[in-house]
Subunit: 302 residues, 4 copies
């Protein structure tokens, strides 16, 4: 399949690589051009603009950091935006973690142009993308989902089609990321309690993950937090804040109070205010530890 | 071993049964005497008072609902309390989920009498007790822990000795229960969001437990919540509230802010205020759903 | 001065009346036309559309319920929107409690058309508007503020000019409404505590307002809450929720965590979910009372 | 009247002074003996122990920092405690801000000894005590209240008798302090929002206190916060934390969720964890400002 691919960040690059490995033809565009070099050596074409990579694509894939970045490549008004360049009958697969409102808007704009639109955010860290072990959550018109299947299979270990209405996939992605952030807050508070009580955080983690959760995710995140390995960031705290912000917006739009999400929002925002925006989002636990008088409280990130 | 056993509730009865099954001799005491009948038929002796079952015990085990119940059997001032009846050199194994303060006080009182004191709360629901699959978290003097080992082995699939200072085990139990309550709140909020967005809660649960948590605990609790099966209660909401209250007290004593635990406390208290104290603590999610306008808001439990 | 006036709701009507009383000439527009009748009898002209009342106005005043309503009259794309109809050199005075983002956008759109834009939200309930006792918070270009002065003087007992950048006035209005909502939550929680302790809420209010606050606002709101007079609504709870939402958006835009505002948002949203959106926003306290087991918990509004 | 007076801290000393000024005879006791010197010069007698000052008192007054200090002077088991020394028929007037539980316990212990017990906490800062402008909140047996009246009149501008059950006065004092702390949080968050929006906090305060609250308390606290004058502390943050802790305990005892009080507890605790326990409790706002990225985040108090 001819794929236009926009966004070669931590997640985008391994996904693009996996698609090439599965035999697809890629035209790639990235704001920082150098990120594309590796793929060019393997036969990808460097696009000059979003419009350029969308112009002859069977499928346009975007994997970008936030709503603004997606709007910038799709809707820019300099004639180089991807929206108007994508031929009718082709589809846009949006893998970015974007808001429900933008997804709905894209669905509408594409439909008005006779193009297909699929929201297909993924669960999994960059390392999972490298290993084709992502989970794809897809929603959109069935005929386009059908055509996109081989692409999903090339990057993930499983795909869940959750409906015809694209924003449903975004809700699930946002609600899912909320559950991870909630786990971070939970472990951060519990670790502060046990540490101040003279108990080793790693030992406590081993106990609850053996006796209660039996969850690799708790094990992985818990170990990172217990060992305070927040750099380099696998997922930056300020991006985590963005996702909780989008989850709250999605909840507000359907009148759902989410007090724990509000707590996460406020704590992540305070962590950013205290200089921790660029470390891993599990580093939220470090601020909680300091609030408990653990660690030098002059250790706020500069 | 000759065991004095006090407290034949949902957890105590199967534990007592398992100890008898392992060949130990039991004298049992329960406020509601009828609960002991089954054990008497199998050779247990019915004690007349806490003091009676403690008087000739190698080990006294208590498994009661809360601090007050433990104080009542141990410290009552009518001469029938177990504390003064337990012979010097013997030990008290406290399996109840009690506060850190009471555990510290018991440790001191027992030490002053030349008795041993072990805090040994357990993780696991009644069904796990039936199947000898509990996890025992033990802290206390090593020589007593050593002697108590066969008892722990008779009821659990694993024992974690976490220190010489008994309250450490209580901190871990309370911090652990906090993490479960946090999971309930998390799922309750996420389910409200996805349901109001037109997405099936069970389907969402399947996705996040496949893609993210891979945790039987998330699966079990999540299914109960998605299916709203809050009765009969495996663990009553008002007891869950008690545990969060004890966790907050433990945290406050060591100057640890736990905003998520505070949120849980306030929400559980509101759920009690709205008539849900006797249903399963996962029923907290039902109140969250109603706050989101889901379900008839006149459905508060009468 | 010739004034185009859009929005004859609970606040708009008495303001329009006061302007006419001060000798200004009004052309009025309201979605529900009947609201204008009283003013027509006093010499106002009924406008056919937003554009109609803006077309020959020296000053266009809008006093509407929310962002959407303002967008609808200003930016509608049927040629009848007020934005393009207002002559260059004239000004738009926006008195509605709208978001910072929309205020910034309006400022830009008006500037591009050579029109002036002032944000001039007011503090005060409808009764204060009747009595020309509002407080006007104004921000915008000094020359336009200067020309608008007589209008502000006709409706309020004082005007505070807070800067040249219109959104600053909106921030102050939103932050101010946040402080009122915070007072409602505070009194609601305190009243629940004293009532459950056997103490009369009105008596407690009298004490703290004598000994501590000495504030008419505490007295007024506190009395309404103590007497549970939430209907008819002076300011509907769902509109209060809207304002807290806008305050949170303003805070998020400048990276300010406001955990109390988050709490207010979640509680107001739950109150709406429980059927209280149309009563006075001080009715939030009623939900808090029910959470404390006060009042029949089946009394949620149908 | 012969008064035994225990506790010559920031509040106790001016109260004792005012009582002497009104012609009463004082025997004083303070842990730090030097605090009494001034009063000795004016004719007070220095007591050797709590029992000493209570032994011949018509009324024993205690004004101490917290529950522990009150327990220490009243209930110490070295024979020097005031409880057993106070003659039957005399009364103990407890002015300290203590918990509801301790007040109930003292009421019971005194009654069992034929002594009277009045809870009479006060509202007002030390400066108000100097000027006999405190507000006294009293609850206890009417005959003792009657006899205590001249004492209350000597120190305050008004007395509110709120019931026969002493803890009711403590509930009101704690609920009142909660409302002040809530005001501090409210102003702290609102100031952070306006400051980050380019608006002067003092100017904002002037607007809301003119247009909305018209409250000297808002003016005083707001000015302290806007000017960041947190030292010397009029009321230390760690004592404010203590009061919120006692308010939460009182609320929990009667099943009242107080989410805003929980928020205050957690934020005050974090402020202590970040080194601010000894500054004025309005300094909570400083931590909120830092969470918003205002001020050097390396400014946490060492």
């Amino acid at each position: 399949m001819k794929i236009g691919f926009i966004g070669l960040g931590a997640m985008g690059l391994p996904i693009a690589r996996a698609l090439m490995g599965a035999g697809h033809t890629l035209a790639v565009y990235n704001r920082t051009a150098g990120r594309a070099d590796e793929l060019l050596g393997q036969g990808a074409r460097r696009g000059e603009s979003p419009a350029d990579v969308a112009g002859d694509a069977d499928a346009l894939i975007t994997m970008l950091a936030d709503d603004r970045a997606v709007e910038d490549v799709m809707l820019r008004d300099d004639g180089e935006g991807a929206l108007d360049a994508l031929p009718a009958g082709r589809m846009h697969i949006s893998m970015s973690t974007i808001g429900v409102g933008l997804a709905a808007r894209l669905a509408e704009l594409h439909a008005a142009r006779g193009q297909g639109y699929i929201s297909a955010p993924v669960f999994g860290r960059p390392i999972a993308a490298e290993q084709r072990k992502l989970w794809v959550i897809a929603a959109g018109p069935p005929e386009h989902i059908q055509r996109a299947r081989p692409l999903f299979d090339a990057i993930g270990q499983g795909t869940r089609v959750v409906g015809k209405d694209p924003p449903m996939a975004n809700v699930i992605k946002l609600a899912g990321n909320f559950t991870i952030a909630a786990m971070i807050e939970t472990l951060g508070e519990a670790f502060a309690l046990v540490r101040r009580s003279g108990i080793d955080a790693a030992g406590f983690l081993e106990i609850i993950n053996t006796a209660l959760f039996a969850s690799p995710l708790y094990g992985n995140y818990g170990t990172i937090i217990a060992e305070e390995r927040f750099e380099p960031a696998a997922f930056k705290l300020r991006l985590g804040l963005k996702d909780i912000r989008l989850a709250l917006a999605a909840a507000d739009a359907v009148s759902v109070p989410m007090p724990l999400a509000s707590l996460l929002h406020d704590n992540l925002l305070a962590a950013v205010g205290r200089g921790r925006g660029e470390i891993d989002w599990s580093g939220l636990a470090q601020m909680l530890a300091e609030n408990a008088g653990l660690g030098a409280h002059d250790s706020d990130h500069a």
